[in-house]
Amino acid sequence: MSRFFPLSDNDRREMLRKIGADKIESLFSSIPESGQFKGTLNIPSYSEQELLDLFRNLADSNTPTQSFAGAGVYAHYIPASVDSLASREEFLTAYTPYQPEISQGTLQAIFEYQTCMCALTGMEVSNASMYDGATAFAEAILMAKRVGKKKNTVLISDAIHPHYRKVAQSYLENLGIRIKAIPTLNHKVDIETLSAELENEDVFAVAVGYPNFFGIVEPLDEIALTVREKAPKALLVSVTTEPLAFGMLTPPGEFGVDIACGEAQSFGNYPGFGGPLLGFLTTRQKLVRNMPGRVVGQTTDVDGKIGYVLTLSAREQHIRREKATSNICSNQGWCMLRAVIYLALLGKAGLRELAELNHRRAETAKKAISRSTHFEVVPGMSFNEFVVRSDTDLEDFVEHSVVNGMFPGVRLSKFGLAPDEMLITVTEMNTVEDIHRLVELMEAVK
């Protein structure tokens, strides 16, 4: 008998008697004979102790490493308070807050998260989370399409995360939306091509990375100006995989971006092999009715007391069905909770300091690498990740580094991009000593 089952055999007999059934099998008689599974599922069972051993062994067969990996998922220090508070069962084991009177904890946390995300991005409205940055991006384009109505072309910068572009393609191609790629020039949006493509009357949105996939801070002011001049009706969408950058960078909202979306895993969530992540999507108040996903609003109860509820649900699938603004139902609520706890701990000053610490460590790495023999840093203003180019075989280099306990960065050929380039990410988790070790390994290649 499993420890998960609170019914005793005696309970089961009494319950069957109340139902008026002679045996448990008769409760399944609505399954036609021809559809019944007569065997036993071939899955072993483990005691809790054995189970933990099994999973410890699996976890231990992953190789621990010093790492400069980023490219959409970031290792940041997570304060103990985040784990501790988020583990409270009242948060962890609750459902979506459909009954607001007994869900004010979750609802207020979402309201606070929405406020924090607006502050970070300079936008007016945030939803309560999407699955991840890639799906938030795809849904942002679909949202723009709803606003752009008859127009059918979206311009997507090649400097957006390749996985995000892939997901967007899966989402858009079935709907007949035309994607036109904007090529890069020096790892940035080629503004001239962008400007030329904007001559096309059919463009309903332009999407750029900020910072982009290569870590470069795109000149969002120039891009916004170009879009506004050439296609004033088109929506400008910015995509960010590392929103810690907003501790230092002018937020997209200040450049007049219409939808700022991306990945907020950086805030209090573990890399977790890429999931669960935290897609964010923020926009302007006037576009809120086209927004996908849940949103929490403030209201009052019958006694006039302030409280929070899920609102604007007339956009959502449970009401609008096939006409909904998205099919999303369950989202990433708990990851969002971790993010708001993290941001509350970090605060104004902490955000700026942490952003600067990341940036300056990355700059320190850039300086050291640019003095090395076989590696050069691709030029461009960056936040905490950047591209290096090498005249050695990068696959060999990565392998050699891994043997020496260091993962030096993500080869761009993993994304079908330049085989001689690698993306290096530096966070507060990488010390100056780690950076020196990285450069030593770079100098050791033949």
Partner: protein, 486 residues
């Protein structure tokens, strides 16, 4: 349900300049800032300034305004609010897993990839399907993925077709997922037994139909007795059968969709497989499929040939990617831990107990609450407010009154084909004592409805907030602190 304080300020109304809740390594010996120009932020984002203890107290107090599965009975129909084992959380927080990065070489993440493969294999065994992808992040995401696969499969045969058929009892995500895959939706009416009406199906089924999304057991908790026939009818017209497996908790070890004619389906790991809902997510919605659909599954695919695990990206017929990486891996781990805690026999027992519990509640309350479809049900039972309506009492009133007794309300007003639905799903995690308490309270509430209806109208009474003005929330939008008119 009472908390020490019924009210908590927002973080933006607390704290003060100079305070901090997180300290950082000192920036010693570092290169200077190299960002300048219009992209250098000149404003300070308005985050709060709080010390650690203030943050700890704030979120602890907020948590006390919530109600979770660990607090008590949580019979949300269709949501399968079963026990969330604690060991699963510990396993998902092992350093080797939670710090594993998705771009590391395969040789460095063998444990992670192997765990993914183990879960895929277990889900295939449970569903009787041939293959599984863990990429979808929730049930609706699995639906979208599955319908995209149907589209890719039919495209490969020459014509993606135009319609997806969906029973009128379906969850809202089904039609929405179909629409987002580029299909038009045709609704199929249910018959008097709550199942798909075969005659109606016959009427709408033609060569323009790409497939049907069928929830089984359906949202009334009824096993679609004609599912094999439906599959045959679809297949004969070259269409495919998708199964919404949100209710798999009613079938484990009893029937396998792969043997019922289903081509592709999703599971909700946050329902059937015990992973916590986290106040809204993250879930995980793996898709399982028959061999003939395998080429179309999302890329990459975990390949464990010869004991070495890697990701196969070379999938020319794949629908592409639907997630930035490989899905909600840490959630998948929890589900695997649950499956291995129970084993095949235990999973079957959980299904038996869940079905027993739902039928026990049905038998105990059928004289007090109307059962609109008087057909045998599996893991859940749908009542409605017909008997109480004569006293001016609605489903909403009943739900809110339950809160006064420390019980989470059932799912209400779903499925849409039942007027005033009250959908109760007890799961296998409830003791008989807990269910008897629920039954006693439901009877009491039914009695109150007839003698003192105002008790129900005014409920809940003792919660941190009482009934909230949702119309006001939607009209006078305040979606962030300091936003809106207030």
């Amino acid at each position: 349900m009472k908390t020490l304080r019924g009210k908590e300020k927002t973080i933006f109304q607390m704290g003060g300049e100079g305070k901090r809740g997180m300290d950082l390594p000192k920036p010693e010996g570092l290169a200077p800032i190299a960002i300048s120009g219009p992209c250098m932020r000149s404003t300070t984002p308005d985050l709060p300034d709080l010390s650690e203890i203030e943050v700890v107290r704030h979120f602890t107090r907020l948590s006390k305004l919530n109600y979770g599965v660990d607090d008590g009975f949580y019979p949300l129909g269709s949501c399968t609010m079963k026990h969330n084992p604690k060991i699963n959380e510990l396993i998902a927080s092992l350093d080797g897993f939670k710090w594993s990065h998705p771009m590391l070489p395969y040789g460095m993440v063998q444990g992670t990839l192997k765990a993914m493969k183990m879960l895929e294999d277990a889900l295939n065994e449970i569903t009787g399907m041939d293959g599984c992808s863990l990429q979808p992040a929730a049930g609706a995401h699995g639906e979208l993925t599955g319908v995209m696969m149907i589209r890719a499969c039919l495209e490969k045969r020459g014509n993606p077709r135009q319609f997806i058929l969906i029973p009128d009892s379906a969850h809202g995500t089904n039609p929405a997922s179909s629409a987002f895959s580029g299909y038009e939706v045709k609704e199929v009416a249910s018959d008097e037994t709550g199942c798909v009406d075969l005659a109606k199906l016959e009427e709408v089924l033609d060569e323009n139909v790409a497939g049907m999304m069928l929830t089984n057991p359906n949202t009334l908790g009824i096993f679609e007795k004609n599912i094999q026939k439906i599959a045959d009818m679809l297949h004969e017209k070259g269409a495919l059968l998708y199964m919404d497996g949100a209710n798999m908790n009613a079938m484990m070890g009893k029937a396998r969709p792969g043997e019922l004619g289903v081509d592709v389906m999703h599971l909700n790991l946050h329902k059937t497989f015990s992973t916590p809902h986290g106040g809204g997510g993250p879930g995980a919605g793996p898709v399982c499929f028959l061999k003939h659909m395998a080429p179309f599954q999302p890329a990459p695919v975990v390949d464990g040939e010869g004991g070495y695990h890697k990701l196969d990206w070379n999938r020319p017929d794949s629908i592409g990617k639907v997630h930035g990486f490989y899905g909600n891996f840490l959630v998948a781990l929890k589900a695997l831990a649950y499956i291995l805690s129970l084993g095949g026999k235990g999973l079957e027992q959980s299904t038996e107990d869940a079905v027993l519990a739902a039928n026990y509640i049905r038998a105990s309350l059928k004289d007090n609450f109307h059962v609109p479809f008087d057909i045998p049900t599996l893991h859940e039972v749908v009542f409605n407010d017909k008997k109480q309506a004569e006293f001016g009492i609605s489903t909403l009133d009943i739900a809110k009154r339950l809160i006064d007794y420390g019980i989470h309300p059932p799912t209400i007003y779903f499925p849409l084909i039942v007027h005033g639905a009250l959908m109760v799903e007890p799961t296998e995690s409830e003791s008989k004592e807990e269910m008897d308490y629920f039954i006693e309270i439901m009877k009491k509430v039914a009695k109150e409805a007839s003698i003192s209806p105002e008790l129900l109208h005014d409920a809940p009474h003792d919660t941190p907030v009482r009934r909230l003005d949702e119309t006001k929330a939607a009209r006078n939008l305040v979606l962030r602190y300091g936003g809106g008119d207030e």
